[in-house]
């Protein structure tokens, strides 16, 4: 069972097949339900219980930082482009797009006949205002870094938008699918960040931050094969046990972030399906490459070999994940290196050998962790310290307060725990956290060859050449990088058997790429 879960691009179907083969009856659905899932039906109110959401959430697209805000946003807004369940880029508000030969100028054709919930027709001005909201000196948006490369946006007629970049970027349309960059109505050339008006599948009836959001289907939605529910109720239920109880007692239909310690109990409940998707979310331990002893690559390699990845996946993720190979590109990505790079495993002798290369017999290190980085980070630190002892590495685990972790510990202390939701493209992931000098380069790693490849691959439009370059970059991060990437964590959700999902559930974000409201239905 664990084996099948760690597979790539896991779908509910493949779980079903695996479960059937192994005779694990818990996951098998009645045949009638499987047949029903092929043909979406309309109707019903979907009640979603999410493990995020707080009273300080807001409608401002620059501030969406948790899955509650993101699912809420994706239910009421559309984006220029959309990433489908297979990871491919699909048109959404942009009907089509094309790049100049150097990939530095992008022309988007905007879909005709799309209206906002307020009735306003969508045109190029709305798209420009929506993107501009995140740009510029005074931007308070968390998405500012990803639109920084834009030098100019202008309309060419009422339904064409031309974007100029400071350098070629073959993945630019992918970036436009980012959850922050929702297309919102423009007024006097700017969007209103306090408005819930969008052009998405559901119209917001009420929103009380930290309590609930209610939505009804947008009767004028331009996609005819989507948005099957009559309405959506989105509830923040932060306590893990409360969330499971709400599902078991039938007060919600879907929950996310199933508690991995009790998932086996949830599986026993009848009328509930556990849904696990291997995505790009990964847990990491960056080492400050500027500071001794991590400035010596031998020490970093010793540490990388002293981590028992299988054990971490088994004990911290309860099997709901897969081992990492010290690079951040997941099997859900297009250019994942696959067999081209050998899987790194726990090897105390090799770790010792690397320490010797660094001129050391043993070494004292301190790892600063908190469950703010990811659930189980403290336990993961303890497991690492036990296993690395055999290699002569004395790892002291220092538990930091969760509150203020990102401002006081992360990127301040030399060896910490952190996580990434992953990015849909290799370039996006690398240039966010691994390129020299970028804001979120959490290990302060610099590598000239890597930067050069990254720049070259970004403006390269030939996919075979790009693959070659990205595989080499993954190798560089794996063997010279300063981040231990031991595991990819699956998105584990659960839903009542009344809810049907598509055959493939998107692995790019939790809740079917945040699109649960638009893609699922009641069987």
């Amino acid at each position: 069972m664990t084996k099948s879960i760690t597979h790539t691009g896991l779908t509910r179907r493949s779980v079903l097949r695996g479960a059937t083969a192994l005779g694990a009856a818990a996951l098998i659905l009645p045949a009638s339900m499987r047949a029903a899932s092929a043909e979406p039906k309309k109707g019903g109110i979907l009640r979603i219980g999410m493990g995020h959401g707080s009273t300080s959430d807001s409608l401002d697209p620059g501030s969406w930082d948790n899955a509650y805000s993101q699912v809420f946003a994706s239910s009421r807004h559309n984006y220029l482009t959309e990433i489908d369940a297979d990871g491919a880029l699909q048109p959404e508000i942009a009907e089509s797009w094309e790049a100049s030969a150097d990939a530095a100028t992008w022309t988007f054709k905007i879909r005709q006949g799309v209206t906002f919930h307020s009735g306003k027709a969508l045109d190029a001005e709305d798209v420009i205002a929506s993107i501009n909201f995140h740009r510029g000196e005074d931007s308070t948006s968390a998405a500012k870094p990803i639109v920084d490369g834009i030098t100019d946006i202008k309309a060419d007629g009422s339904h064409t938008v031309v974007v100029s970049l400071d350098a070629g970027n073959a993945d630019f349309p992918f970036i436009m699918s980012d959850y922050h960059i929702a297309i919102m109505p423009a007024k006097d050339g700017a969007i209103d960040p306090t408005s819930a008006d969008g052009c998405g599948a559901y119209v917001v009836d009420s929103f009380e931050a930290g309590v609930e959001a209610r939505m009804t289907r947008n009767p004028n939605y331009w996609k005819s094969d989507r948005a099957h529910f009559d309405g959506i109720e989105l509830l923040p239920i932060v306590d893990g046990a409360a969330r499971q109880n709400a599902l078991i007692s039938g007060q919600v239909d879907v929950i996310d972030r199933v508690d991995l310690n009790t998932v086996h109990l949830l599986k026993r409940a009848r009328n509930i399906n556990v849904l696990s998707v291997t995505g790009s979310q990964h847990y990491v331990f960056p080492m400050d490459s500027r500071a001794a002893p991590f400035s010596d690559n031998n020490v970093r390699m010793a540490m990388k070999h002293a981590v028992d990845r299988e054990e971490l996946v088994e004990k911290i993720l309860n099997g709901y994940g897969s081992v990492g190979n010290d690079h951040p590109i997941s099997t859900a990505n297009r250019f994942h290196a696959g067999d081209a790079l050998e899987q790194r495993t726990y090897d105390a002798d090799k770790a010792k050998w690397y320490l010797k290369q660094a001129g050391l017999d043993s070494i004292d290190l301190e790892l600063s962790v908190s469950d703010a980085a990811f659930g189980g980070a403290v336990d993961a630190g303890v497991l690492m310290s036990e296993k690395s002892a055999a290699a002569g590495i004395k790892l002291t685990v220092k538990r930091e307060p969760s509150d203020g972790y990102w401002s006081n510990v992360w990127m301040k202390k030399p060896f910490v725990a952190s996580y990434w939701g992953g990015r849909p493209t290799e370039d996006w992931m690398f240039s966010t956290a691994y390129k020299s000098g970028v804001n979120w380069n959490e290990s302060y790693w610099e590598n000239a060859r890597f930067d050069q490849l990254l720049a070259a691959a970004r403006s390269e439009l030939d996919n075979d050449k790009r693959r070659e370059m990205y595989v080499e970059m993954q190798g560089l991060v794996r063997d010279e990088g300063s981040t231990i990437i031991p595991m990819f964590a699956s998105y584990v959700m659960a839903h009542s058997t009344a809810v049907a999902t598509p055959d493939t559930v998107a692995p790019n974000w939790t809740m079917d790429g945040f699109r649960v409201a638009e893609r699922w239905w009641f069987a």
């Binding site: 219980g49 707080s54 009273t55 300080s56 959430d57 807001s58 409608l59 401002d60 501030s63 930082d65 000196e137 005074d138 931007s139 308070t140 948006s141 968390a142 500012k144 870094p145 306090t194 009380e208 931050a209 930290g210 309590v211 609930e212 509830l235 923040p236 239920i237 932060v238 306590d239 046990a241 409360a242 109880n245 709400a246 078991i248 007692s249 039938g250 007060q251 919600v252 307060p401 509150d403 203020g404 990102w406 401002s407 006081n408 992360w410 952190s418 804001n439 979120w440």
Partner: protein, 317 residues
Amino acid sequence: MAHVWRMIAQRLALGFLTLFVVSLLIFGATELLPGDFAEAILGQSATPETIAAIRRELGLDQPFHTRYVSWLSSVLQGDFGKSLANQQPVIELISKRLGNTLFLALYAAAMAVPLALILGILAALFRNSVFDRMSNALALTSISFPEFFVAYILILWFAQTGYFPSIVRLSSGISFGESLYRSFLPALTLTLVVTAHMMRMTRAALINLLASPYIEMARLKGMSPMRVILRHALPNALAPIINVVALNLAYLITGVVVVEVVFVYPGLGQLMVDSVSRRDIPVVQAVALIFASAYVLLNLTADVLSTLSNPRLMHRR
């Protein structure tokens, strides 16, 4: 009677002073916490430029005393400002939550206070009997478990079996009876948590008095034990009982975060916790002031009632 009014006036004035000190403490304490709103809201996505932009926009780049004075002056004019996080007026955010919190507190109090008094009186009456021992043991058991454990047990018994909902959704437009039904489990949890304290205080105060000579006299006159307790002992035991009831009522308003989290109850406690973790100071300030006011007012009420219950205190020498 006049000096009761004077006491109320004095205590109210002192209460305002307390609130002022509380606001200063809260403002200072949040200042000491790592990071500010700009860093808290951006979390891992923080970059120096966006942090600076948010601080500029919200005036967080001003020094501590400037922000405090401008906040205080608007509060004195009745304006609690806007939430940093979602720009909604703080009053609006709080009013509904405060209503929910008071509803739950009163609901729990309506069950817990009579229950505690009755159990306490009966326990005193039949002290050292099986009833006394059982009610003490039960009350102590429920108060000894952490709140969330009591809550989970109740969910296991009453929610997973389908009798009551495990999460409380108080949308507007539901009837009072429906609200009572939906909030039953959190109210019951709180009842179990606070009853022991009040019950044991009632019992102890009564037993203490039952040893007094005037009770002995009443007994010798041949009064029934129930009448001795209700007519002669209870009025004299009221002062400590009122105080412990007030203390527990204050707890029901201010200390129920865990219960709110487990039952997803939309009360003030959760608002406070969220706002502290986001460093949303205007909201933290306002909620803290409400909590402090609850303590001040309930203590004042307890003092006044204790005074009224004791004729000797009514007539100063």
